[in-house]
Amino acid sequence: MGQQIRLEVVTPSGAKVDEDVDIVNAPGFGGDFGVLANHAPFLSTIRIGTLTYENGNKRESLMVSGGFCEVSNNKITFLVESAEAGTDIDVDRAMKAKERAEKRLNQSAQQTEELNRRRAEIALQRAVARLKVAKSL
């Protein structure tokens, strides 16, 4: 095993993850990125998506929603509004949310109400990310 980097995932309801890992893959605003040990100081915003990290043979996924991440002193800290592990995710609910969001998107394609559209898009992104994490179990 090579060098490791400390991963911290902090949400408003407390720290979710705090452990040493080999690699972190995160959904950055401008595209996904991976971080290994001893990365240069780095700051990026995070979009809704899946955060994966590997520790030895263990591979874990988390669904994260908007926030940002900071890398410094061989430590990577995610500050996100929510982080959910696959086991915490209610697949049925996510499925329903996805359908609902899709339906609303189709409707508002005609009405083109900016705010509703954006909300539905965000809801859809969240639902898709949740399903992805739940499936990767």
Partner: protein, 290 residues
């Protein structure tokens, strides 16, 4: 002197009140623990957020971001965070008192003041000023980040379209279970976060790679930061409310006990007087028969 029966009913009434206040005290104690846990859990998030903000805004030009723009202040908005329910001593009244003081100060300087009320109690007390722009009631019971976001987004819009030039939050700061003080904090324009002491090593590694650019990160972070501020105020007020209610109910329970004690003395006196009267009647009757 009150009749025996009257005193007796009163005693049992006060005893029932004591039972209720005692139960409320215990409920508040249980809820306080929950609220405190929530606050503890949130602390690492805020402190990390502050670190990142100070790293970012260290070299930032304050007028480059619309949310940091310092304008000549003509209108001030005060965000009053109080609890939804009463019966928690003077906690809400203290916050509102501070709100009135602030309002008078600003108005003396010729500025226009408007209120945004989070929590029903503040709204009820400030409604008659006619300056409440918006109120969020029934949210303090169980709120989440998205409630805070809704509030922050609305306030931010007002600031961005120039309706308000300055926003401050007023809330109760939780110092200990026995002490909660009303406090104010600046909200908008966003203040550059001061570097805390003992962050020398942070400064050394201040050369971050930013993705996307600093500006874009700030554009995303600032609204988030405002959500955090509101959420934080709501959490503090939640904890304060339960702590204040605990103390208030504790006082009420001991006051009830005092009243029961006094009333029992009155009751015993009345009973004794009645017994003495009856005895005198009997003795008088016996004498008459001789």
């Amino acid at each position: 002197m009150a009749s025996l029966k009257e005193v007796k009913t009163k005693i049992s009434g006060v005893k029932k009140t004591a039972q209720i206040t005692k139960a409320m005290n215990m409920v508040a104690a249980a809820k306080l623990r929950g609220a405190q846990d929530k606050m503890e859990a949130f602390r690492p998030y805020t402190s990390k957020f502050n670190d990142a903000m100070s790293n970012l805004s260290g070299g930032a030009n304050t007028n480059a971001f619309p949310l940091m723009e310092i304008r000549e202040v003509k209108t001030v908005e005060l965000v009053i965070v109080t609890s939804d329910r009463g019966l928690c001593g003077s906690f809400n009244a203290n916050i509102v008192k501070l709100a009135f003081k602030k309002m008078e100060e600003y108005e003396a300087e010729g500025k226009k003041v408007s209120f945004v009320c989070v929590g029903k109690k503040g709204y009820q007390l400030l409604r008659k000023t006619g300056k409440v722009r918006k109120s969020y009631t029934e949210t303090m019971g169980s709120f989440q980040m998205f409630n805070a976001r809704e509030i922050a987004t609305d306030i931010t819009e007002q600031f961005l379209n120039g309706t308000t030039d300055k926003v401050e939050t007023l809330y109760g700061r939780f110092i200990s279970v026995a002490r909660q003080v009303p406090a104010t904090a600046p909200f908008l324009p966003v203040q550059p976060v001061e570097q805390e002491e003992g962050t020398e090593e942070k400064k050394a590694s201040g050369d971050y790679i930013y993705e996307p650019s600093t500006e874009e990160i700030m554009d995303v972070l600032q609204p988030l930061y405002l959500n955090v501020l509101i959420y934080h105020a709501m959490l503090e007020v939640g904890a304060c409310e339960h702590a204040a209610r605990m103390t208030a109910m504790d006082n009420a329970t001991s006051a009830c006990k005092d009243i029961v004690k006094n009333l029992t003395v009155v009751y015993n006196k009345a009973r004794q007087a009645a017994v003495t009267n009856e005895l005198m009647d009997i003795v008088g009757g016996a004498e008459a028969l001789k």
